[in-house]
Symmetry: C2
Subunit: 446 residues, 2 copies
C-alpha cells in the first residue's frame, strides 16, 4: 500500500491518489510520510489530504516529518491544523520541536489555548501532568440522565473523551464519574446520582507516569482523572496514552538492562554518534570492573603456570555465573516493575533463589563432574570445578535477586542491576572462589 | 487498606467490613483475597460481597483463589456468578481450572453460553480468537442516529462494549463501525451511513495476539472487531485485554532474553522446582558451549605458560564482547518487537552497528592501551589487547544485530538470540582472535 501511494505521488496521479488515501487509516497515511525522502513531496501529499484528515494525520507523524511540514506550510494552513488538534497532541508537538518552530506554533495557536499549553509544558516529562488532556466533560450533581445527555450533546463535540464524564462540585472538586453508556442506557428521568460511581480512581499531576500507566492495567479503566492538591479536576489521561507509556517504559527497561542509556528515538532514526554515546559509558565502567577481575588473576599466576588446564574452565564458570545471575535479576526486576514483588518480600525471594540455585547448580555440577572425569581422569580438578560451580551459582542467584531490590531501596532504578553489572560482579567472585578451592585441593601439585 | 480488611474479617466485625468494602474498587477487593491464607475466611469475605460486586470481583481473582472459592460455594451461588460474568472472562476461567472444576463450571453455565464457550476454547492460546468476546452491538444499515440509539438502549445492557457498534450486512458481514459518541452527538435524524466509518480495522480469529495488540497502539483504537474467513463478525477485542497481552509478551521477551523458558505465572506464585526447570535447559546448553570455548584454551597452553599475564586480559575481553553484543541484540530485538525494524533493513542495521562498533572500540582500545603501557610497560601486549578488542567489538556488534534478524527470518523467536547466546558465541571468537594475535605479535617470546 505504501509503495502504491509513493508511486502515485511520484507520477503525480492525484485523482487516483486521493481515492486511495480516502480508504486509508490516518496512522497508515502517517507511515507513508516517513518513507518520503524530500520535503517538496511531503508537502504535495500533505496538501492532498482533506482538511479534517490533515490535522489528524499530523498528530501521528514522526517529529522530523512534522518539523519539515511546519517549516514548509503557510501560517493559514498551520493555524487550521492547530485548531483541529487535541491539546495534548499539541503539547507533545511543542516538546519535540526546536525553538524557532515552537515560536511559530505558539503564534498560530488560539489565544485561550496558549496559556493552557504553557501550563502543561511545566509538568515534568515523567509526570501524569505531561500525559493529560483537558478535553473532558464535567457535569453537575442534580441532573437527570436525560439532562446529562443534552449537556453532553451541547459541550461534547470538541472533547477528546466523552465516554467517561466527571461529576464536579461548584469549585471543580472531583466527586465521582459517570459512564456515557450508563447515561445512554438509563431511563432519561433517572437522577445522575443513581448511575454515577462515587469511588473514583484519580491521580495527582506530579504522580509518576509509569505508576499511572500501571493503574490502567490493574483497574481495567479507559481513562483516569488528574486532580491537583485540592482534589480539583485539571485533566484526564486516556488509555491509549497509557499504552504508549507502557511500551516506552518497557523499552527503557530493556535498554538499561543491556547496559545502555535509554533513549526515546527509534533505532533507525538515531544517529550513529548518539548510539555510541549511549553505549560507551557503561562499556567503560564494566570494562574497568573486568580489569580489576583480570588483575586478580595475576595473583594466581603460579597456579596457572603449574596447571594450565585450570584456565580452560574459566569461560564456563564465568558464563554460567553470569547467566544464573541475569536469570534471577531479570525475574526480580520484571516482577518489581509489574508490582508483583515488593521490597518486603526480600527474604522470601532470596530463600526461593537459594533453593533454585541449589537445584540448578547440582545438575550442572553432575554434568561437569562426569565430563571432567571422562575427559581428563582428574578427580581433584573435577572436585574443584564442581565446588566452585555450586558456590558461583549460589552467589550469582543471590546477588541477582538482592542487588535489584537494594537498588530500589536506595531509590535507584532496579534495571541498573541487570545482566551486565551482575555478570561483572559474579565473574570476580567465581574467579576468587575457583582459585581458593584450587589452592587448597590441589596444593600438592602446585 | 488491605490490612484493615483482613483485621476486620479476622475479628468478624461484619457491619464495619461491609461499609469499608462498599468504598473499594473490585480490583482492590480481589487483591485482599490473595492475602487470605485459608479457604474458610475467603468464603466468609466472598459471601459478604453484594451480588453484582461478587461476580465482578470474581473475574479479577487469581486462578488459585477462584478455584478455592468455586470448590467451596454451592451450585446456586456458582450459577449466579457465572450468569453475571462476561463471556471472555468465563473462557479465561475455564482455561485455568483443573478438569473437575471445569465440569462443575460448565454444568452451571447457561445452556446458550455453553456452546459458545466450547467454540471459544478451540482457538489457540496465542490467537486473536482467544482474546475476544461476543458482547458487542451489531446495527443494520438504513437506521437514523435516533433509531440506532434506541436499538442500543434495547440490546446494550448486557454487552461488554457499546462504545463502538458494528454495521453488519444481512449475513453478518462487517461493513463498518460507528462510535456511540457519534450517535449521541449527531442529530437524531442523521442517517447512520453519514456517521459510520467505512474503513474498519479488523483481525481474523487465528491472527497472532501479539500482532493484534500492536494494532491498538498503532491505530489508537479502543476495540478491534474479529472476523472469520468470510469477513463475518464473530467477536471483538477490547483495549484492556490488549494491554494485558502487551505486558505478558514483554515479560515473555524479558525472560527469553535472559535465557529462561517463559511462564505465565507470577514469580512469587511459581514453585521452586518449576523455576529451576525453566532455567536449567538454557544453563546446560550455554554451559556446554562455554566448555567448547574453554577447550579451545587448551590449544594455547604453551602461550599461557610462557606469558601468564595474557590470562588476566580474558575477563575484560570476554565481558566487553558480551556487553557489546547484548547491547546490539537488545536494540534489534526490541526494534523488531515494536515493528520499527524490518528484515529488509538488515544492511542498514548492520552498517550502523559496524560504525557504532568502530567508535566504541576505539575509545575502549585507547583506554586499554594507556593502562597497559603504564602498568606493564609492554608495548607488544598492549598492541595485542587493543587489536583483539577492536575485532571483538566488531564481531560482537555484528552478531548481535545479525543473529536476531536471522532467527526471525527462519521463524524462530528473535529473543532467543539475546545476551546469553551472543555472549557465549562472542566469547569463543574473542579468545580465538586474542591468541591468534598473541601468537603472531609475541612469537619471539613464546
Amino acid at each position: 500500500m505504501i509503495d502504491r501511494v509513493l508511486s502515485l505521488l511520484h507520477s503525480r496521479q492525484y485523482v487516483e491518489l486521493r481515492r486511495l488515501i480516502a480508504d486509508m487509516h490516518v496512522a497508515d497515511i502517517a507511515e507513508v510520510f516517513s518513507e518520503i525522502p524530500d520535503r517538496e513531496s511531503m508537502l504535495r501529499l500533505f496538501r492532498l489530504l482533506p482538511k479534517g484528515v490533515a490535522a489528524e494525520t499530523f498528530s501521528y507523524l514522526e517529529p522530523d516529518v512534522q518539523q519539515n511540514i511546519i517549516e514548509a506550510i503557510t501560517d493559514v494552513e498551520l493555524r487550521s491544523i492547530l485548531d483541529d488538534m487535541f491539546l495534548d497532541d499539541c503539547v507533545d508537538l511543542i516538546e519535540e520541536m526546536p525553538a524557532n518552530v515552537v515560536r511559530r506554533v505558539l503564534l498560530n495557536t488560539p489565544k485561550e489555548n496558549r496559556a493552557l499549553i504553557n501550563q502543561y509544558l511545566q509538568y515534568p516529562d515523567d509526570s501524569a501532568g505531561s500525559l493529560m488532556t483537558n478535553e473532558y466533560v464535567g457535569l453537575k450533581r442534580g441532573l437527570t440522565a436525560g439532562q446529562a445527555l443534552s449537556e453532553i450533546r451541547r459541550t461534547g463535540v470538541d472533547k477528546e473523551t466523552i465516554e467517561t464524564c466527571f461529576i464536579l462540585s461548584k469549585d471543580r472538586r472531583l466527586e465521582g464519574e459517570v459512564l456515557l453508556r450508563e447515561i445512554v442506557l438509563a431511563d432519561p428521568d433517572t437522577p445522575i446520582e443513581e448511575i454515577m460511581e462515587d469511588y473514583t480512581l484519580s491521580v495527582k499531576t506530579h504522580d509518576d507516569r509509569e505508576e499511572v500507566a500501571m493503574l490502567f492495567s490493574k483497574y481495567d479503566v479507559m481513562s483516569i482523572p488528574v486532580v491537583d492538591q485540592e482534589n480539583r479536576l485539571v485533566g484526564l489521561i486516556t488509555i491509549d496514552d497509557a499504552v504508549d507509556v507502557i511500551q516506552e517504559e518497557n523499552t527503557e527497561d530493556f535498554e538499561m538492562m543491556a547496559g545502555m542509556t535509554p533513549s526515546d528515538e527509534t533505532y533507525l532514526k538515531t544517529p550513529v554518534l548518539t548510539l555510541a554515546k549511549h553505549r560507551i559509558v557503561w562499556l567503560l565502567v564494566l570494562m574497568f570492573s573486568a580489569m580489576v577481575t583480570g588483575a586478580m588473576l595475576e595473583h594466581f599466576e603460579a597456579a596457572i603456570s603449574a596447571i594450565p588446564l585450570l584456565v580452560s574452565f574459566l569461560p564456563m564458570l564465568m558464563d554460567t555465573g553470569g547467566n544464573c545471575g541475569s536469570q534471577a535479576s531479570t525475574m526480580i526486576i520484571r516482577g518489581m516493575a509489574l508490582d508483583e514483588i515488593d521490597l518486603s518480600d526480600v527474604f522470601r525471594v532470596w530463600w526461593k533463589e537459594v533453593r533454585v540455585a541449589l537445584l540448578c547448580s547440582v545438575v550442572l555440577a553432575i554434568f561437569n563432574f562426569l565430563r571432567i572425569l571422562i575427559q581428563y581422569r582428574d578427580l581433584e580438578v573435577a572436585a574443584v570445578v564442581c565446588c566452585t560451580l555450586i558456590c558461583t551459582v549460589l552467589i550469582a542467584k543471590s546477588l541477582g535477586c538482592l542487588l535489584p531490590m537494594l537498588a530500589k531501596r536506595v531509590r535507584l532504578d532496579p534495571a541498573l542491576m541487570a545482566a551486565p553489572m551482575i555478570t561483572t560482579i559474579t565473574d570476580a567472585c567465581s574467579i576468587l572462589v575457583f582459585f581458593r578451592f584450587a589452592l587448597s585441593f590441589l596444593s600438592a601439585r602446585l
